[in-house]
């Protein structure tokens, strides 16, 4: 093969190739990613679309869980004080049923029971983040209002609906329990029972029966309240699950589109070596030709 002065083209091609490789390695190292655009690895890029979507959903589930869990915990602790108050009411009823208690003392007991009823009303009307926790889904207004015509003097104006929220892909948990199952369940209404007890204490008759009613309302409340505690537990375990899943997704992202730094660094060094040696070779390759030696005798 005849050799002609093609070094410049060869050199240019070699430098171009080395530059491209160097740029690529640098990009991979600075972004930490092997796949920076879809054409780097189309299948990995398509997979990354799914992974990123799952990660985004997972992050959102975690945020939602923390918001919902806060709400559930608030409701649970409010109900816990309600339970304590009802226990006190039962104690008062038992105390008032004792024949040795004077009418005056029963009056005092009755007004304490009335106070408990007010306290429970306050709890039942608890507002969290702008909505009422125990109103079902009609949560923009107070679920319980004083109404002399209603049994127990308190009317429920919420509804029986519950909200659900997705906390893992395809898995939902209920977010609330309407007051109608907690405070004003039929046959176990807290307000009715307390009102009856207060009346019975005042009148001195039927105190045992009234106390029984309060106990029934108490049972209803404690049974229903389990919902909150167990849901909070459920959400905490979901949180762990999601955090693990997110870790795995991050790992998958890394495996899928991340760069092995060792490989990238080696590539960078290789590209630089190739570039330097191309330049060195160009410098070495003599720019002299026979022409330079002619006529120099």
């Amino acid at each position: 093969m005849r050799l002609t002065a093609t070094e410049s083209t060869i050199l240019l091609n070699a430098l171009n190739a080395a530059d491209r490789a160097e740029q690529n390695a640098l990009l991979q190292m600075t972004t930490g990613r092997r796949v920076n655009v879809a054409s780097d690895d189309p299948a990995a890029a398509a997979m990354q679309v799914q992974t990123a979507n799952q990660l985004s959903a997972g992050d959102q589930f975690l945020r939602s869980i923390s918001s919902v869990a806060g709400e559930l915990q608030t409701a649970d602790s409010a109900l816990s004080s309600c339970v304590t108050a009802l226990q006190r009411a039962i104690t008062l009823g038992v105390e008032g049923a004792n024949g040795t208690v004077s009418q005056q003392d029963r009056q005092a007991l009755a007004s304490e029971v009335q106070g408990i009823s007010d306290q429970v009303l306050g709890i039942a009307n608890l507002n969290y983040n702008g909505h009422f926790l125990f109103a079902g889904t009609a949560d923009s207004r107070k679920p319980y209002v004083l109404d002399p015509n209603a049994p127990g003097g308190v009317a429920y104006q919420g509804n029986d609906q519950t909200n659900e929220i997705e906390v893992e892909s395809g898995y939902t948990v209920p977010m609330n329990m309407p007051g109608s199952q907690l405070f004003s369940a039929s046959g176990a209404s807290v307000f009715e029972a307390l009102s009856d007890l207060a009346t019975a204490l005042q009148n001195g008759t039927g105190i045992d029966t009234a106390t029984q009613s309060v106990r029934a309302a108490f049972d209803q409340l404690t049974t229903s309240r389990v919902f909150y505690g167990s849901n909070v537990d459920q959400l905490l375990s979901d949180t762990n699950f999601l955090q693990n899943e997110n870790l795995q997704l991050a790992q998958a992202t890394n495996n899928n589109v991340g760069v092995d730094m060792n490989v990238a660094a080696t590539n960078l060094v290789n590209a630089q070596t190739a570039r330097n040696s191309a330049l060195a070779a160009a410098a070495q390759s003599s720019s002299l030709s026979l022409l330079d030696y002619l006529g120099k005798s």
Binding site: F61, E164, L290
Partner: protein
């Protein structure tokens, strides 16, 4: 019998031959960086001998012509490879500009879909909260904008390509008319000397340029060249060139390329035009079509789901997005409501209900096209863009390598080597000196002969 005069003639002939050699060498050196130049060399031949009886005397050297060193087959291969390379290059350049429109994560349509459904889940936690409602609207708006931007950019690129196609066709016409002119001159000239060679060089260079633009099939008949497209549309026949022109097609609103035979747009498969047309007529419309399908399905399904619910005022939900389907759905996608209260999150008409959010988020797992969920459909788009670019990249680097190889080969045949020319210079100089010395020797001998007996 040899004579002094014939020796003188031989020496003079040699002087002329060496001068011609020197001229050729100098011309080679002058053109060593001229693109398309093929090195030349003088064709020297022994002159016919002079026969005198039983003796045959050599009669010096004759310059029969100047020849260009070229390998026509190699040139054709180069032209062929350039068509491939220019096509891949044009396609890769265009599509690489579009690739950022289809990111894998953190931005774009995919992230828009994820964020939108995530914002709905956030709203489920507190459905009457106005900032969460605003958040959903903002996410819906961002999703629509992502679709608008991608579709808009695809459309812009498409019309830019259309403009390029027009310019490329003009360039093709220029080149073919130049080639036809050279064909004409070559037919007119009977010379086989360096003039001939430089015309061929020019024509080869023009054919290569043309190959960078369009697929060309070359047929060589003697000194004349017939150029057609691969599909056989005539571009140059002898000294006549056939213009291509562009006309706006009402069907797809792009410029189609017409030859005398009619619309040849779809048959152009190489060169810059081939790459641009592939992007303009196939890849981009396919991407736009998929974006439209995805946008249409999202709009329809989300609207349907939205209408199942009730807004904060207790009224039934309306359209969440402007109902827009079919072609242009992605470019025109827009959120229909601005008041966050009108977001229909509730399924029972109460302000605190979130039952309808489940209907809306269910769209994320429903099939929008070919059994794919929205995010899968987007992933599929990303894959398509990526793989068409990476395939074109592979083609590009393969044809670039082959082209470089061929060009080196060509250079070894037609390129000017400094060393070679320098040694030729030396040879011609020496031969010239020798011939001149011979002349002066003959001169002295003639003088001796003339002075014989003159005393």
């Amino acid at each position: 019998m040899g004579s002094l005069y014939s020796a003188l003639n031989i020496a003079v002939g040699s002087l002329q031959a060496q001068q011609a050699g020197l001229q050729t060498t100098t011309n080679n050196l002058a053109n060593m960086n001229t693109p398309g130049y093929s090195r030349q060399r003088p064709v020297l031949q022994e002159a016919d001998p002079v026969i005198q009886g039983r003796l045959a005397f050599g009669n010096g050297v004759t310059l029969t012509g100047i020849e260009s060193l070229r390998d026509s087959l190699l040139n054709l291969q180069i032209a062929d490879q350039m068509q491939q390379q220019a096509k891949s290059q044009a396609f890769v350049d265009t599509m690489s500009q579009l690739q950022p429109l289809f990111p894998m994560d953190t931005s774009g349509i995919g992230a828009g879909i994820s964020s939108f459904f995530a914002s709905l889940n956030g709203l489920a936690a507190n459905p009457s909260d106005s900032s969460l409602r605003q958040n959903v609207l903002a996410a819906a708006h961002a999703l629509a904008t992502a679709f608008n931007q991608s579709a808009g950019q695809l459309n812009t690129t498409r019309s830019n390509l259309d403009l390029n196609v027009q310019q490329d066709v003009q360039e093709v016409n220029q080149l073919t008319s130049q080639i036809a002119k050279i064909n004409g001159r070559l037919a007119a000239t009977s010379s086989s000397g360096s003039e001939y060679g430089s015309f061929l060089d020019q024509r080869d260079a023009l054919v290569q340029q043309l190959s960078g633009l369009i697929d060309v099939s070359v047929l060589q008949q003697g000194s004349s060249l017939t150029l057609t497209t691969r599909q056989g549309t005539a571009l140059v026949v002898d000294s006549q060139s056939f213009e291509l022109n562009t006309r706006l097609d009402s069907g797809d609103a792009t410029r189609h390329i017409y030859a005398q035979a009619g619309d040849i747009t779809n048959s152009i498969s190489g060169g810059k035009l081939g790459g641009a047309l592939e992007a303009r007529d196939q890849e981009i419309p396919s991407l736009l079509g998929q974006l439209d399908t995805l946008a249409s399905a999202l709009v329809t399904k989300l609207n349907d789901a939205h209408k199942l619910g009730f807004d904060l005022n207790g009224d039934p939900g309306g359209n969440l997005f402007n109902p827009l389907t079919g072609i242009g759905a992605a470019a025109g996608m827009a959120v229909a409501i601005t008041n966050p209260k009108l977001l229909a999150a509730s399924s029972d008409g109460t302000s605190g209900g979130n039952g309808n959010i489940a209907n809306l988020t269910a769209v994320a797992t429903q099939s929008v096209s070919n059994g794919m969920t929205p995010i899968q459909a987007y992933g599929n788009l990303v894959f398509q863009v990526g793989s068409s670019i990476s395939n074109a990249h592979a083609d590009l680097s393969a044809s670039t390598n082959v082209l470089q190889q061929l060009q080196q080969q060509q250079s070894s045949v037609s390129g000017v080597s400094l060393d070679e020319e320098a040694s030729n210079l030396l040879l011609y100089e020496r031969a010239y000196q020798a011939a001149a010395r011979a002349i002066s020797t003959v001169d002295q001998m003639l003088q001796t002969a003339i002075n014989m007996g003159a005393q």
